[in-house]
Every structure is written in structure tokens, then in C-alpha cells.
């Protein structure tokens, strides 16, 4: 009992930082509608900058002043990012904004290592709060008590800010209807920038306050961002009170869960989240979102099946690819097979995102499940490769059945965040359940059967499987199922009105996509001969997203081209530089800003060039307007 109480106190102390970061994310989302993935990066930067300042300037003033100044510096960086990057993409679909901020996250990860080194850093203790007091024979740091008091204090201050100042009233108004606020003479640009700065300040302060408690590491950004996503999903995006309640809930579940289920404490949090989302899809304190401005895959050029000439062209390209083993060496073949595996992975995600309009940020989950499924088949059943290649996709399918059931209840950013959370849960299971998965050491010795064990054989096998799978996905796009799915994407309400059951159609698409991702994962396991938790990691999910984006999300199967281009580039980059994340992040950011239509979209645009519009306005303006018009149509239906 005493132990429980002590744990609960420690949980409350952890809740403070979590609340700060989550409320910042929530406030930013409320006004700008951007889910700032880089929030974790700002949290981490807050901790690093505070470390530097507090180590340099001793004493109470140096310490507390250091925390404050560090948070202000990072807030200024956040405002800079808003002005330079985000202002260019407010009109873009939400997915692009998430990706752009993710690109920034990647860049910060490498920059932090360049500036502060890769080693964990231990900051100074807080002056005046170095001691501990004894409770039930256990020591509780006085710093924890300070944090426990800080959470409600910040909540109160934020409440005053939002209800007792003109700025706060404007922010609350903009959270509800930002266009109307502009129509009343408020300059949204500065409102957005100031909101962003406040949100980032809270994140950085959350990070800075951690330095007396934990070491500063260059991977603290991803761990906090997933926890923060869980908090805001439970609490409701846009609600500060919700962030507070959910931060306490999640921290307590973590603190007490460790006592009850030491190995799978994350699962407890996750179960709570699942229950909350089923009962209240927009979180405990959240409100229903308006229909998104435009879904990812919406295209204004109708899709058509390939003409027979195009089919012959594709067949020729596949045949040409099949000739590769005649002149390529073993290394080139293995690179070729890897690219093919990612073609299938990207195509599976592409199907979900462009045909279904469901942007998954955790697609690696099904890729990794496929890889582990194949590995289990070999390791525990001693099955041959053929069987393992069937069991792998079945794992992907099973995972998609379960997580898809929850995810399709949500849409837009909530959907993306929930898919990410699922992927992280599965990753942590693979990481922690050492007896079965081997944990960090992975599972080794997953080699292909003899008939496919040569690099040529495996390449041909992969090519055949991938070509057939991609063709199948394309057939699905133009099947009645595909039409129904596109209907739910383009207008949920109208699809409902003509009798399409949105949830089951999207769930089915989720499952199809997860199954093919699982197949790609199973092939990947045999290609590498081993499986590690990294196959389930966020970087793989993001690779998939970038491939789809690069290929062009308004296309039928642009991901194929995107995957080939991106994977080849990534493999080449890795061999050229240590700062591949920095380069990759920069490429993602540039891509989002410069070419939202992707490679294939760009080619299509040239092929189908329309007659110039009457006032010569650019196509991007036309696109923005078309989505305007769409938004209006949606609103009319809603009325």
C-alpha cells in the first residue's frame, strides 16, 4: 500500500513534464491544425540547451534562469520554423504538415549529436531541491514535489491566459474558426506564430525541467512524442484540461503499471487509450473535428486503368528487370531485391493512403509483423520458406485486423496518431518480450530455401511476388471495392448516404494493406537472414510515407516509382555520409514545400496539361480553390 502511494507520487511528478509538452502540442493543433511532430525534438532541444546553460552558470539564478532562457531560445527556434516552413504549407493536406515536421525531427536528431555528442549527459541538480524526504521508509526527492505542484500551477496560468487576455480570447476564437477571425481584422500570421512559440516554449520547458531527474539523450524525442500522442489522443486534441487529465492518467498507469505488469506496462496505457477512443473518439475533453480540408489521395484528374499499350510497357519493364541477374553482381542484386521489397511495402501503404485516404504513420507495424511471422515460422515450426512466406502476411493481416478495427473509428490526424501509437506498442512488445522475439538481439538464421538461396533466385522470386502483388493492388483500385473506398475518401457523408458502410470498407482496405505490407516484411526477413525490432520502427514507417509522397499521392501507383527512387537514394546516401538523417530530413522538408504532387504526379501533370485558365493562375492555386469548393460542398451536406 505504501509502495503504491510512493509510486503514485512519482507518477504525478512525471506527469508535469508530460503535461507541459502535451498541452503545447494541443494548443498548437487547436489553432493551426498542425500536429507538430517536431514537438519531441523541441522537448529534447530544451533539455540540451538547459544542460549547457545550467552547467555554465551555477547557483539558483543560473539554474532557474538557465531553464527559462533555454525554453525561450527554443521557443524562438520554433517560431522561426513556423515562419520559414509551416507558413508555406498551411493549405496543404494535414499529412504534408506532419511529414514536414517529421523531417525537422530527423534533422534535429543528427544536429544534436553533432553539437552535443552522442553520449548521455548528466545535468546539475536543482539548487534548493537536491534533498529527499522520507515517506513510509522510502525517499522521495523534493524536486518531485516541486514538479507535482508545477503541473496544476501551469494549468491555472494557461487558463488565465486564455480567458483573461485579449490574446487568449483571439486564440480560442481562432481554434474554432480561424477564417472568421481573419474576417474580423486579426492578422492570423502573427497569431499563429505566437501560438506556435508558446507551444514550443511549453515543450522546451518540459524538457528543461527533466535534467535534474534524468540524463539528457539524443533519443529522448521519439520516446516523449509517442507518449504525448497517447496523452493528447486520450485527452482530446486542442484541450489543455484534457492534456492535464490524460497526462496524469498516463503517468499513473506507467508508474503503477510497472508494479502490476513490469514487462508490458505500455500495454496498460494502450488499453486505456483504446477504450477511451471507442467510447469517445475525440478524446475525453475533445470535440468532434470538422471534415478535413482534403484527404490525402483526392485527385481532380479521374483515375483510369492502364491502356493496353501502357500494360505492354509495364510488362517490358518487368521483363527488363528480370534480366538484371544476367549482368549485375551479388551486391547489386541484393540492393535490387531490397528495393523491390520496399516497392511492395510502399505500394501497400499507397493503397491505403491514396485510395482509402487513410494516412498511416505506423505502417512499419505490419511490415515488421510479417518479418517476425516468417521468422517464427522458421524458428518455432521449422517450416520451409514457402510456408513462412504465407505465415508472415498472416501476421500482418492479424495485426491489421486488430489495430484497423480501432483506427478506422477515427480519421485525419487522430487516425495517423493512433496508427503510430499501435506501431510503437508492437515495437515495444518485440523489444521487451525477449523470450520469444530475442529482444534487441533479434532472430537470426532466417535463410531462404535452397531453390531460392542464390542472389539471382531470390531476386527473381521477389520480383515475381512484388509484380503480382502490385498488379493485384491495382486491380483492387478499379474494382467495386476500390470505387466504394474512394467514395468514402472523397465524401464520407455522401458515401454513407448511398449505403456504403465507411468503417467496414476502410477496415477492409486497412487489412488488405497490412497483409501486403506483411508479405513485404516476410521477404525482407529472408533477404536479410534476420529480424530485429527496427523493422517495426518509426523510421521504416516514415520511409514508406516519403516513398508514397515522393511518388505522388494523387496517382494510382506512384509509390512504385517513389520507392525505387527513394530507396536507391537512401542506400547511396548511407554509404556517403554519417549525417544521413540530416540529409534525409532536409529532403523531406524540401519535397513537401517544393513538390507536393510527387514525381509521378508531376509527369502526369505534364502529360495531361490542361488549357491555360482564363486569368492565367497557376495550377497550385487552382488546386487550393478546388479544395475550397470541396470544403464548401462538404459543409453544405453537413447542414
Amino acid at each position: 500500500m505504501e509502495l503504491l502511494f510512493v509510486q503514485a507520487l512519482s507518477g504525478l511528478a512525471s506527469a508535469a513534464s508530460l503535461f507541459l509538452v502535451a498541452s503545447g502540442l494541443s494548443i498548437i493543433f487547436g489553432v493551426t491544425r498542425i500536429v507538430n511532430f517536431a514537438h519531441g525534438a523541441f522537448y529534447m532541444l530544451g533539455a540540451y540547451v538547459a544542460y549547457t546553460l545550467t552547467s555554465r552558470f551555477a547557483g539558483p539564478l543560473g539554474f532557474w534562469g538557465g531553464l527559462l532562457v533555454a525554453s525561450l531560445i527554443v521557443a524562438a527556434l520554433g517560431a522561426l520554423m513556423e515562419m520559414v516552413l509551416l507558413r508555406r504549407i498551411y493549405q496543404a493536406p494535414e499529412l504534408f504538415q506532419l511529414l514536414a515536421t517529421f523531417g525537422v525531427t530527423l534533422m534535429v536528431q543528427d544536429l544534436v549529436v553533432v553539437i552535443w555528442g552522442a553520449d548521455d549527459l548528466l545535468g546539475p541538480r536543482a539548487p534548493g531541491f537536491t534533498g529527499a524526504f522520507s515517506l513510509f521508509g522510502r525517499n522521495i526527492p523534493t524536486y518531485d514535489l516541486l514538479l507535482i505542484a508545477l503541473g496544476p500551477a501551469v494549468l491555472g496560468l494557461l487558463w488565465l491566459l486564455f480567458h483573461r487576455t485579449r490574446w487568449g480570447v483571439l486564440v480560442r476564437a481562432a481554434t474554432q474558426d480561424r477564417d472568421m477571425v481573419a474576417c474580423l481584422g486579426v492578422n492570423q500570421k502573427w497569431l499563429f506564430t505566437s501560438v506556435f512559440a508558446l507551444g514550443v516554449f511549453l515543450a522546451a520547458l518540459g524538457g528543461a525541467l527533466q535534467i535534474p531527474r534524468t540524463t539528457v539523450t539524443h533519443y529522448m524525442d521519439l520516446s516523449i512524442i509517442v507518449e504525448v500522442f497517447v496523452v493528447v489522443v486520450i485527452g482530446g486534441l486542442g484541450s489543455v484540461t484534457g492534456a492535464f487529465v490524460a497526462a496524469v492518467l498516463v503517468s499513473e498507469l506507467n508508474a503503477l503499471g510497472i508494479l502490476a505488469l513490469p514487462k508490458i506496462s505500455l500495454v496498460a496505457v494502450f488499453l486505456v487509450m483504446a477504450v477511451v477512443l471507442v467510447v469517445r473518439p475525440f478524446g475525453l475533453f475533445g470535440k468532434a473535428e470538422r471534415a478535413p480540408r482534403s484527404s490525402a489521395g483526392t485527385s481532380f484528374r479521374p483515375w483510369k486503368p492502364m491502356t493496353s499499350i501502357e500494360r505492354i510497357g509495364v510488362a517490358l519493364i518487368v521483363a527488363l528487370a528480370a534480366l538484371l541477374p544476367l549482368f549485375a553482381g551479388n551486391y547489386a542484386l541484393s540492393v535490387g531485391s531490397e528495393i523491390l521489397v520496399f516497392v511492395l511495402f510502399a505500394a501497400s501503404l499507397h493503397f491505403m493512403m491514396t485510395v482509402g485516404g487513410l494516412a498511416s504513420f505506423g505502417h512499419a507495424a505490419y511490415f515488421g509483423l510479417g518479418a517476425y511471422g516468417a521468422a517464427f515460422a522458421i524458428k518455432f515450426l521449422g517450416a520451409p520458406m514457402g510456408v513462412a512466406l504465407l505465415i508472415g502476411p498472416l501476421f500482418g493481416l492479424a495485426g491489421a485486423v486488430i489495430s484497423g478495427w480501432f483506427c478506422v473509428r477515427l480519421s485525419g490526424v487522430y487516425f495517423a496518431m493512433l496508427t503510430l501509437a499501435f506501431a510503437q506498442i508492437i515495437w515495444s512488445v518485440a523489444f521487451q518480450w525477449v523470450e520469444v522475439t530475442g529482444g534487441d538481439n533479434g532472430i537470426l538464421g532466417i535463410w531462404p530455401s535452397r531453390w531460392a538461396s542464390s542472389p539471382e533466385g531470390f531476386f527473381w522470386l521477389t520480383l515475381a511476388i512484388v509484380a503480382v502483388s502490385v498488379a493485384l493492388l491495382r486491380v483492387l483500385v478499379f474494382s467495386p471495392f476500390g470505387f466504394g473506398l474512394r467514395a468514402t475518401r472523397d465524401n464520407t457523408l455522401r458515401a454513407d448516404a448511398i449505403g456504403i458502410d465507411r468503417k467496414s470498407v476502410q477496415w477492409a482496405a486497412f487489412i488488405v494493406s497490412g497483409t501486403f505490407a506483411g508479405l513485404a516484411g516476410a521477404l525482407f526477413a529472408f533477404l536479410k537472414g534476420s529480424v530485429f525490432p527496427e523493422t517495426l520502427g518509426i523510421p521504416i514507417s516514415v520511409d514508406g510515407l516519403v516513398m508514397v509522397l515522393l511518388g505522388g499521392i494523387e496517382t494510382v501507383s506512384g509509390a512504385v516509382v517513389g520507392a525505387i527512387f527513394y530507396k536507391a537514394l537512401a542506400i547511396w546516401l548511407m554509404s556517403q555520409t554519417d549525417l544521413s538523417k540530416l540529409v534525409l530530413g532536409a529532403i523531406i522538408v524540401l519535397l513537401v514545400v517544393a513538390s507536393p504532387k510527387g514525381i509521378v504526379g508531376f509527369i502526369e501533370q505534364i502529360r495531361h496539361r490542361r488549357p491555360p485558365s482564363p486569368n492565367g493562375a497557376g495550377s497550385s492555386a487552382a488546386r487550393a480553390d478546388a479544395s475550397d469548393a470541396l470544403g464548401i460542398a462538404k459543409m453544405k451536406v453537413a447542414e
Binding site: 485579449r166 480570447v169 483571439l170 480560442r172 476564437a173 474554432q176 474558426d177 477564417d179 472568421m180 477571425v181 481573419a182 474576417c183 474580423l184 481584422g185 486579426v186 492578422n187 492570423q188 481532380f300 485558365s613 482564363p614 486569368n615 493562375a617 492555386a621 487552382a622 488546386r623 487550393a624 480553390d625 478546388a626 475550397d628 469548393a629 464548401i632
Partner: protein, 234 residues
């Protein structure tokens, strides 16, 4: 001229909505923009306010061109806008809604305050702390107009202020608009309802399928019932 609009064209995606729309409003004038549902009245207002991104033409306000200015800048120059669907902030109180609309006073004119607006719309004075979402349609319309007045405009675009309101409230609304006129405000009202326009307007334009079809005084319009029958629902 307070407001001059010439050769206004606007587009939603590939759809061409307004065709060379032009009209003018004098100082202190109340002008009606009449037309059926979907004729282009709201789009005209939205285009003037800079809310339709694909647009061409010329908009001059108090002699300055404002065609390419951002919405907030247009408002700050004194061109107020009350949208058709009212768009009150449902989670803000009446007073907070006013606060969002508040802008600097106009030189030479008395600043609008919540108290002055409560005199114009006495109903609102009794519900200062009520949330916008908990008000009736008529009260929301009054709140929306009052909120725009807090920006101290010299001209207001009123998009269908009588739509969906009970006859008694419509009467009250007409009285309030006339009171605004007496304060020296120029007003453009979009309307489907000729009877309402007759109560308050000096002149009228008729818009149909994105083109201006008629321009003249209300009396001239009265004298030509065939125009009314061709372009307006009666």
C-alpha cells in the same frame, strides 16, 4: 464613392462563378444586392473580402485599391463583413465575441462599444455572459452584426441578414440596419427578399448566374415587375 467594384471574376477550381461583376456604393448609402439562391451574392462578398483565392478584377475602397490585400487588412481599413452563416464563436460568450471583433476607433467617428451595441440590439444586453452556441438564430445574427460593428467599419457587407428569421425579428433587424445607416454607415445587403430590401435600401442591383442584370433605384425596380419576375423568386 465608398466602394467601387469593377470586372470582378472569380473561380472555384475550374468553375467560373462571377463574370465581370461591377457595382458601386456611395457614402452613407444602403444598397441591396438581390438575387436567387446560388446567383453569386455570397461569392461576390467573399471575393471582395479576399476569401476566394482565384479572383481577378478591381476593388476600390475609399479610393484605394484593395483587390489583393489580405482579409484582415481589408477589415482594418474599415470594410466590415457579416457572413451569411453568421459564424459566431459558439464557445465564446457574447462579450468575448465582441472582443474578437474589436479594432481601433475610426478618426472622426464615435467608437462602437458593447454598450452601444446593446442599445441597438437590446436582447443581447440581457445575455452578456451567454455562450454564442446557446443563442437562437436571431440572437446569433444580432451578435454577428454587433461583432463586426466592434471593428468600427465605415461600410458593412451584410450577407442575407434576414435569412431564416421570424417576421418579428426581421422587423427588428430592419430597424437596427436603419439605425446603423443613421450613424453614417454605408451598407451593402444581399437579399432574396425584395420586401425586406424595400424597407431599408435606396438602390438595388440584381445578380443572376454570376452577372449583374439590373441596376437602379428600388422605385425603378418596382416599376418593372417583369425584371423582378425574371430574376427574383417572388
Amino acid at each position: 464613392m465608398k466602394l467601387e467594384v469593377a470586372e470582378l471574376n472569380s473561380f472555384y477550381g475550374p468553375a467560373h462563378i462571377l463574370f465581370d461583376v461591377g457595382f458601386a456604393v456611395g457614402d452613407g448609402e444602403v444598397v441591396a444586392m438581390l438575387g436567387r439562391n446560388g446567383a453569386g451574392k455570397s461569392t461576390t462578398f467573399r471575393t471582395i473580402m479576399g476569401l476566394v483565392s482565384r479572383r481577378a478584377g478591381l476593388v476600390k475602397f475609399e479610393g484605394d485599391e484593395i483587390t489583393r490585400l489580405p482579409s484582415y487588412e481589408i477589415v482594418r481599413r474599415g470594410l466590415g463583413y457579416v457572413p451569411e452563416d453568421r459564424r459566431i464563436f459558439s464557445e465564446l460568450t457574447v462579450e468575448e465575441n465582441f472582443e474578437v471583433g474589436r479594432q481601433k476607433p475610426r478618426p472622426g467617428a464615435a467608437a462602437w462599444t458593447p454598450d452601444r451595441i446593446y442599445k441597438l440590439f437590446p436582447n443581447l444586453g440581457e445575455m452578456r455572459r451567454r455562450l454564442g452556441g446557446d443563442m437562437s438564430g436571431g440572437e446569433q445574427q444580432m451578435l454577428s452584426i454587433g461583432r463586426t460593428l466592434m471593428g468600427n467599419p465605415s461600410l458593412v457587407l451584410l450577407d442575407e441578414p434576414s435569412e431564416g428569421l421570424a417576421p418579428k425579428i426581421v422587423e427588428q433587424m430592419a430597424g437596427a440596419i436603419l439605425a446603423m445607416k443613421r450613424e453614417g454607415l454605408s451598407i451593402v445587403i444581399s437579399e432574396q427578399n425584395l420586401h425586406f430590401a424595400k424597407l431599408i435600401c435606396d438602390r438595388a442591383y440584381i445578380i443572376e448566374k454570376g452577372r449583374i442584370r439590373f441596376s437602379g433605384t428600388i422605385d425603378e425596380l418596382e416599376a418593372h415587375p417583369e425584371i423582378r419576375d425574371a430574376y427574383l423568386a417572388v
